[in-house]
């Protein structure tokens, strides 16, 4: 009998490749210098590192920022387990931050510029641009104002099976580095990407004052990003295939393929404005191994078409907070169980609770960033951008739904308006590719 050729296939870590161009209206158009083509041109291709214009795209997202989310079916059955929907980019941005530089380079083949606080982000002039910001915006740079070469960006959508299997957070916590598995032949995979509308919604100006980044103050027209025109030119998907030898093929026939995937789930609720104390009961699903939660301004989470501000994932403690406590059903030994005074505003950098928490993240391989960079000592002028709380629940073996309860008390300015609390839980799933081509999803507790 003649054997047909069998191709088993899997996806690379950053399997999508987008080619695109971004242009904006020439800000110094001149008809008097009509002999200079650059001044005469109505549009220029962007060069953010030259302040042309001063715009920024979260380096943890890259071109993934142009899409809200993705879906995947295998043999007409939904295979991805993610329910993040429009919050995919918020999760992905946070997921990329909880890594060390070594881990990031090994997994994605590049270094991620770290934007930890305001000193890494703002820039009044191009000569004073912080190194991390310069590195982050370089990926958007066209060669010149009349560049004809498109930008090329490789990207992925984290935890969208089978494109991506494991979150960086659980890779560190569980000390298991899962690679994407090969899918067997005779499978039809359909992957759908949903474009963001408008596509440049997550591109933001890096010339905005701090209180506009995550406060009620809007960005003035002088600091707002200009109107951008993003043109997609091509989108490809890369995968890896192999043809097994006869001995391997026997192994494949004797076993049912089982794949690993992390499932993120999302929760959010509004924070009551104008009160002395707020308390939320966040549901923690069975099998949750880790949970990130934090406070976020409304415009960061939901696009506001009437504002110059962009959505972003720069997270800090909620303003006006005086004390912060955290409890979870049947567990008392959390960091912060005894409370952190003036979190993120005054004295937080001196808090033993916060220092202990940060040290635990370093110990578990979830960050290699210095404490002072994430929780700046000069809190009056330097605001931290990386201040969600990540809880390691992997030891708890949560069998049934329980509750996480953060309580915040506020100073005399009371709780601010238009703020939300959000939480992202991470569960582990096992997907089994059954012989009838169905996919079985099982929660691993």
């Amino acid at each position: 009998m003649t054997l047909p050729v069998f191709y088993f296939q899997r996806f690379e870590e950053c399997p999508f490749e987008l080619t695109y161009k971004i242009s904006y209206a020439n800000p110094r158009v001149s008809t008097t210098d009509a002999d200079l083509a650059q001044k005469k041109a109505t549009r220029w291709w962007i060069r953010p590192s030259e302040f042309e214009p001063g715009i920024f795209l979260d380096p943890g997202l890259g071109a993934a920022a142009f899409f809200t989310h993705g879906r995947c079916t295998i043999n007409n059955e939904r295979a991805d387990v993610s329910d993040l929907g429009e919050f995919q980019c918020l999760f992905q941005s946070l997921n990329r931050r909880y890594t060390t530089d070594d881990f990031y380079r090994a997994k994605y083949g590049c270094r991620m510029p770290r934007i930890n606080n305001t000193t890494d982000f703002h820039s009044a002039t191009k000569d004073a641009m912080p190194a991390a910001l310069k590195e982050a915006v370089a990926a958007l740079d066209s060669d010149d104002w009349d560049n004809t070469q498109p930008l090329v960006s490789r990207f992925t959508l984290d935890c969208l099976f089978p494109i991506s299997s494991q979150s960086n957070i659980l890779a560190a916590l569980m000390k298991q580095n899962q690679v994407n598995g090969y899918i067997r032949p005779s499978s039809e995979i359909v992957i759908t990407l949903f474009k963001r509308s408008p596509v440049d919604a997550l591109i933001e100006s890096f010339r905005i004052p701090d209180n506009a980044a995550y406060g009620d103050v809007d960005v003035t027209a002088a600091h707002a990003k200009p109107e951008l025109k993003v043109e997609f030119e091509g989108l490809k998907l890369f995968y890896e295939s192999f043809t097994p030898d006869a001995r391997s093929l026997h192994g494949f026939l004797r076993a049912t393929p089982k794949y690993y995937v992390d499932k993120p789930y999302f929760y959010y609720a509004s924070v009551a404005p104008g009160v002395m104390l707020t308390r939320h009961d966040i549901p923690v699903q069975p099998g949750t191994k880790a949970m990130i939660y934090g406070f976020i301004h409304g415009h960061q989470m939901f696009r506001d078409p009437n504002s110059n501000r962009s959505q972003n994932a720069r997270i800090r403690f909620i303003p006006n907070a005086k004390e912060f406590k955290l409890k979870m059903d049947h567990k008392d030994n959390f960091y912060f169980a005894e409370g952190v005074k003036d979190p993120g505003i005054a004295g937080a950098s001196l808090s033993s609770g916060l220092r202990g928490y940060h040290a635990s993240l370093v110990r578990k391989g979830l960050t290699d960033q210095p404490f002072e960079s994430v929780w700046p000592r000069k809190f009056a002028t330097v605001k931290g951008y990386q201040q969600p709380i990540l809880l390691d629940l992997s030891d708890l073996k949560i069998e049934k739904q329980c509750t996480l309860t953060p309580t915040v008390s506020y100073n005399s300015d009371l709780s601010p308006r238009n703020w939300f609390i959000f939480a992202i839980g991470l569960q582990q799933y096992q997907l089994t590719h059954l012989t009838n081509n169905k996919w079985l999803q099982e929660l691993r507790k």
Binding site: T192, F242, T243
Partner: protein, 73 residues
């Protein structure tokens, strides 16, 4: 934790996860690319779709012949 079952040719990853994996360097391995499916326009469409048919369709038939060999009279 359950013990790992070793099955030739499968992932050497932790425990239960058993997906096909090249077991020798001789096996033909290559990176390939796929374009958007016909009718999906990257410049205009809000929803973009890739469709991959993995490998030859003979695979399922081949499996069937191994599991349930044809009866020969």
């Amino acid at each position: 934790m359950p013990k790992r079952k070793h099955i030739e040719g499968f992932s050497s990853g932790p425990e239960e996860f058993l997906y096909p994996q090249p077991s020798t360097s001789n096996e033909d391995k290559a990176t390939k690319e796929v374009e958007l499916e016909a009718g999906s326009d990257v410049k205009k469409d809000q929803i973009l779709t890739f469709r991959l048919k993995l490998g030859p369709s003979e695979f399922a038939r081949y499996l069937l012949t191994l599991i349930c060999p044809p009866i020969v009279h």
